[in-house]
Symmetry: C4
Subunit: 235 residues, 4 copies
Amino acid sequence: MYTELKREAYEANVSLPRHGLINLTFGNASAVDRARGVFAIKPSGVDYTAMTVEDMVIVDFDGKRVEGTLNPSSDTPTHRRLLMAFEEIGGVVHTHSSHATAFAQAGMPIPIFGTTHADYFNGEIPVTRKMTAEEIGTAYEWETGNVIVERLGNVDPLDFPGVLVNRHAPFTWGKTVAKAVEVAVAVECIAHMAMMSLQLAPKLPQIEPELLAKHFKRKHGPGAYYGQSDTKTKS
Amino acid sequence: MYTELKREAYEANVSLPRHGLINLTFGNASAVDRARGVFAIKPSGVDYTAMTVEDMVIVDFDGKRVEGTLNPSSDTPTHRRLLMAFEEIGGVVHTHSSHATAFAQAGMPIPIFGTTHADYFNGEIPVTRKMTAEEIGTAYEWETGNVIVERLGNVDPLDFPGVLVNRHAPFTWGKTVAKAVEVAVAVECIAHMAMMSLQLAPKLPQIEPELLAKHFKRKHGPGAYYGQSDTKTKS
Amino acid sequence: MYTELKREAYEANVSLPRHGLINLTFGNASAVDRARGVFAIKPSGVDYTAMTVEDMVIVDFDGKRVEGTLNPSSDTPTHRRLLMAFEEIGGVVHTHSSHATAFAQAGMPIPIFGTTHADYFNGEIPVTRKMTAEEIGTAYEWETGNVIVERLGNVDPLDFPGVLVNRHAPFTWGKTVAKAVEVAVAVECIAHMAMMSLQLAPKLPQIEPELLAKHFKRKHGPGAYYGQSDTKTKS
Amino acid sequence: MYTELKREAYEANVSLPRHGLINLTFGNASAVDRARGVFAIKPSGVDYTAMTVEDMVIVDFDGKRVEGTLNPSSDTPTHRRLLMAFEEIGGVVHTHSSHATAFAQAGMPIPIFGTTHADYFNGEIPVTRKMTAEEIGTAYEWETGNVIVERLGNVDPLDFPGVLVNRHAPFTWGKTVAKAVEVAVAVECIAHMAMMSLQLAPKLPQIEPELLAKHFKRKHGPGAYYGQSDTKTKS
């Protein structure tokens, strides 16, 4: 019944190890169908190589499993929280990609040092505050979503399509789950380069505002002129 | 006669270079059959690409070769010591994976900075004390096992499923040898991220106890809720 | 009509991800036909795996699209500027390769520490000044080419076959676009090694002039004795 | 006429990019036939993917090309010098592998921090002195061999089967060229781990002498007990 949605989630999930973002089973992706009020997500702890389209689990916005026999990812409440809060997004991706996770573990946002970063984020990549013992002890995964939403505040989630969860790892999103995967790739690459730029120049200031604006707007918003209008898959 | 056990050990051994944990012949894996009192282990110095299931060597707990024509790994006494000391484990893996070995060479435990680590270890990844000249000069490989056992002390070996041997490299274990391989992958990944977090924040404190407890218990013990009950291969 | 030129540009473009220089769509290559006054370049934002020879866009030196239905790369004016300024070159390559980009983001030239570097560049790999708000706000991509040309000044562009654009990433060139790809590979490798040499020896002086001269001239100019005269593809 | 020797050299050469030791054409391997007084070596600047067994060039100890139509590697005099000086070796390998080259560029030996290193070298991996302007200006490649020989002095070349050439990169050797390739892989891996151990512990002392002796002798000399006596390819 949800074949297309499951396929979309499946393709995103299996692309994560292919992009080198996932070791073992450290990550998951979800794709939402807003008209039907459900999303498809990876089953918990299943090997990427053994996983099939049919294994994707369909969950509704109350957190109820609507279709599928496997348990959904233990991170499902985080996905659900984000999909509910950010109505313009079509999917969420969670990885433990190494360089981005190194920043998350250190509780540091990723400073914006160059145009690669500015092509994807309208500023530094934010990091959440630490979660409280109470948040951890109760509905942990749902609260993980909450601290992300709290951190973003009033900015447009498509201007900042990802957040590092303190002590944990990145979550990214986009208009489609495929776009959320692309942002996850970019975040890992940006983190790697930022770390090396910091090693070369420990006091490096962030990018100049006019260059940030130029690059971000080349790809986003009404004046965007990157890519094709509708002919081929754009990045 | 020991075909299944040999196959299990063989699969674990050949997966090590596939996971990028092994260069040349730097590593080995063993799988135990407790009922029959033997374990299967990689032959010494044989190339991973040339190795076959039949090349696995069967050794008993006295260190006697029970089946096979090749010499077992020179690290066999270390495996034997660990398999004897930790009765709940089904296999042992030894690698010289780069980032974990960098910590081992420096004689430093791997500090626990994030949830990736907490998913596998209930605290930092321990490092042994240095071995004495006497230990090195006599039954070196057996004594290597002894310093690991000494370092673990009274903790549950499944709460700390691996140890770095000072100046040497990591050994890991698990309920099965496949699980020991998984821990070896995780240890390398954790070591890499810890090193980068330290580079970003040299005085970074370790993870908060409640977050450690939450993540470790999501995956281990009676309250675990990660993965599937029995449907598919869990991680 | 421009099949050979398109094929040359296509081969260069698809070799970039194969060399590990490109993530997603971060990069592009162009090949020029000086007799006909046109160059072939990658279309904007098209996935490398979906791209075909026919997708290459033919552009003339006024920046007009002469053949092809897709939009050319948004970096086309930078390529055009370089192809016009450096008459001895046959192609231009732009990547965001990680280590070279880390230097570019830090606004640092890549110091010349060894013979690998001296095999390709007759000194350090230059970095441009930062672009002004006005340059960024008007014909940004054309001005990007201008700051590269300004930085090179009067040196032979084949003595310095690449420049880092400040806050951005490397551009490289060569007698052919295939050679420009080779330089892009070398720049990334050189950047990686320079960063590590700096980590080992933060005050490391640059290479001795006589060793630089020796290695550069082994491969370039009338006394070159590296490679074959005409038998096989040389590097 | 020299088919077996050419094949041996060819196999070693094409294995270098497969081991990730070579980018572009940065490297070469030679295999010697002492009875016939010749060695086979890679042709200069030929692409690894285009190279065939027949392309290997046969050179004698006077440096004369005995068979083959291509120019031999420009590094041929270095190989010749080493093959003449170290009579117990069967082949030489030269790479610009990244981490080892970073040490060479910095003019630093690779300190011996762990057992991986002690399995291959009986102490730190030496680095040559810088070459003089006169050495560089005359028979540069032959003199490169000379500074390596000078640096080794009276030690057994099989106790120290490789040297870093200052400002340049590693050369390794072994009883066979296949063994020299293995050492080249080990040197790169050892360099990577040493750099990381230094990052974790900048004042880390080198390995304890008894542990060095134990590991080196497990694999080398009359008391060696690593590997198989003659059944299978040993490492």
